[in-house]
Amino acid sequence: MLLATILPFIGALVVVPLGRLSRRLQGYFAAAIAAMTFILLTLIGREVVQAGEAKLELVWINILGPILTFRVDSLSLLFALIASLFGFLSILYSVDDMKGKAGTGRYYALMLIFSGSMLGLFLAGNLLLFFYFWEIVGLCSYFLIGFDYSKESSRASAKALLIINYASAFLLVGILLVYFLTGTLQFSEIGLRLKEPMLAAMIVSLFLVAAVAKSAQFPLHVWLPDATVAPSAVIAYLVVVEAGAYLVARSYVIFSACLPAFSYEFAIATIGVVTLTVGCMAAWVQSDVKRVLAFSTIGQVGYIFLGMGLGTTLGVAGGLFHFLNHAFFKGLLFLCAGCLIYSTGTKKLDQMGGLFGRMPLTALSMLVGALSLAGVPPFNGFASKLMIYEASLEKAMVTGGALGGVYVLYCILAMFGSGVSLATIMKVINSAFFGQLPDRLKTVKEVPATMYTPLLALSAICLILGVAPQLALDHFVGPAVQVVVGGGVKTTIFGMVTSIGFYEATTIAALIFTPLISGIAIYRKVRVKTVPPVEAKYGIFVGGEMEKPYVDIDKVKVDAESFTFAAVQTFNRFYRFMWRGGLDRIYLKLAENFFTVARHIRRTHVGVINIYSVWVVLGAVILMVLIVI
């Protein structure tokens, strides 16, 4: 277990000097390290399945108790497996994506440290170790977002660092409170020693702030859309591995014995619903492919929070299953977007079009990811979203009264978000892959094998999890739910059963795919070769004007903006607020005030080390005086 956590860090040290031999070798070496970590983790996974838990305790300084505690249960295993798998896939994808760019050694080293600390975070058995890794993850994301040192990326990385780290301060305060109240930081002992429900609620609320920022939830989501300037593999890895969701799930486990469940759960669910509505609607009108995906990530993580916040077995199962599915389809979509940018050199949807014929593998993979994201059966996103809808209805029925109505409203909003996601993603697919191919992109080719292999693997997983969700529910999500809330999801041989209904995913998939495939087969068999379409000979009919000066085909095509014209008209208040800067305006105002104060403090920062040393000595003297007093 220790090896699995340390291996990426050792790899990071080795990978930098390898760049002198070959940059490609550097990439493959980093990918091999990530793959080995994944294999080690599956071995730990076997132990967890057999024994229910794997544990490792190293005593470092005895006064503080066992500090290096690693403890793996089904919940951590689920998150750690995803983290290490995506660590491998995104590094493999980077081999070609980073070709010819400067600083590959730094990139791979940071990616390995990032994945190693992510694993450490999920495998940690106490809060102190958890916090260490949490901070390393934050720092790595800062360095990776600002990887190319451009002004834009520096701003984005600083924004991410500030928001995530200010929120992490809340986590630290929470951890200190835990230690102060219980005298321990071990996950297994905190719940037993903490007796005061109100204090537990306070601690968990502090944790929640950190989780909300890390998972880019409303109102601390503003860093994620800007962070899309990072390389595609980085942003894919950043969004799929939801450390915040893990923290929420873990706090359920830690504080299960002493938490006044209702208010905490309701807060999480509300944050989830608001986020998913805002995220999905904001994604709808974006025209930059990565920003679309970033906002839609914010929305989808909202679903995860909603599921978790419902607090029922079905809700948590839905949340965790959606986390798993989201990891696969959103990772897939980000990597597809990376392929598009790699091939076309632009992020703007308006400048793409007609690429289906040029990049068929990317297009099909993106279609699979898009349909999963939108929650279209029989893809995997549908199964988990269905569980969340049903869980909120179930909660509404159990709760009853006005609050029950609120939960029904949450369900409706979740469904609305799903519809908006479908609209968004259709816009992306249409703008990128259909319509007229611009002249500029006539030479575009499919991406290299190292880039499309992860796409195909992820598409296959999305499809398999959609057709047979029972596999994931039985082997990964079920045991994790058992850890979090106890109980599990009932599955059948073809799907699952809930208290509200059942979903026979495999049967539905068979019903959809059989006619589809046979239809295509029949069409190919019996189709009659017709005369070539007229537009092949004369071009598309655009009102009789064929010469370039009169009609420009780029001007008359249906661009990305026209898809959302009606939406912008309907919700124009929301979008006007967003376009004026949205929540950023409030944060900027805060920052301005902060700077006014900081300007005075800044005078002490003269930049001379000697003066700083004097400050240090003065500080030490003041501390000593205080201690003596």
Partner: protein
């Protein structure tokens, strides 16, 4: 060990550290500090019988010497003019040694670490050259190591803390050497007052 020997050993340590701060030739100062650090490792081994101290301090010595000589070869062997000159520095360092000995009633171990920390702080405050500041910082760290050895009687785990501190120092030295070269390439100076432009 005889207390007179112990006193001699610690005086040697303090004198070597002080000399590393006062000497204005950077290569000589680096070599003096390296001998100081290796000497400390040997003393720790002889006094405590603890092999970790000697390993770590030889490592510190080595890790200090080669990157810093590498840096000095790329920059300059002459120290930037300090805030206080050699004479004043010598007087202050002798003063530090005397006061700490008087304060701790001529106890070699305690006055040793206090002198080393104080001299290190003095080096960081009064010297303008970054390499000298780095030497001052390392001297503080060595003093802290000696302090943790002194603390062993209170908590048996303290050598581990020293071990972690030492490992951190080794990494920090490498990092500092790397940063110094970068600073020199950008500003063509190692004077910490001149490079104050390095502000964000």
């Amino acid at each position: 060990m005889d207390s007179i020997w112990l006193a001699l050993v610690f005086t040697g340590l303090v004198v070597l550290g002080g000399a590393a701060i006062v000497v204005s030739r950077l290569k000589l100062a680096s070599v003096l500090f390296t001998i100081h650090s290796a000497y400390l490792g040997t003393v720790l081994f002889i006094v405590t019988g603890d092999p970790e101290g000697i390993y770590m301090h030889y490592l510190i010595a080595a890790m200090f010497l080669w990157p810093f000589l590498w840096v000095i070869n790329r920059t300059s062997n002459y120290e930037e003019p300090p805030v206080l000159g050699a004479k004043a520095s010598s007087i202050i360092i002798v003063l530090i040694m005397t006061v700490s000995n008087l304060f701790y009633n001529w106890d070699p171990l305690q006055s040793g670490y206090v002198s080393m920390i104080a001299m290190g702080i003095y080096g960081m405050v009064a010297r303008r050259d970054i390499i000298k500041i780095a030497i001052g910082f390392n001297l503080i760290e060595n003093g802290v190591h000696l302090f943790t050895i002194h603390l062993v009687t209170f908590g048996p785990q303290t050598p581990y803390i020293a071990l972690v501190l030492d490992s951190a120092t080794i990494l920090l030295n490498l990092l500092v050497a790397w940063v110094i070269v970068g600073i020199y390439e950008e500003y063509k100076s190692l004077n910490s007052w001149k490079i104050a432009r390095l502000r964000w």
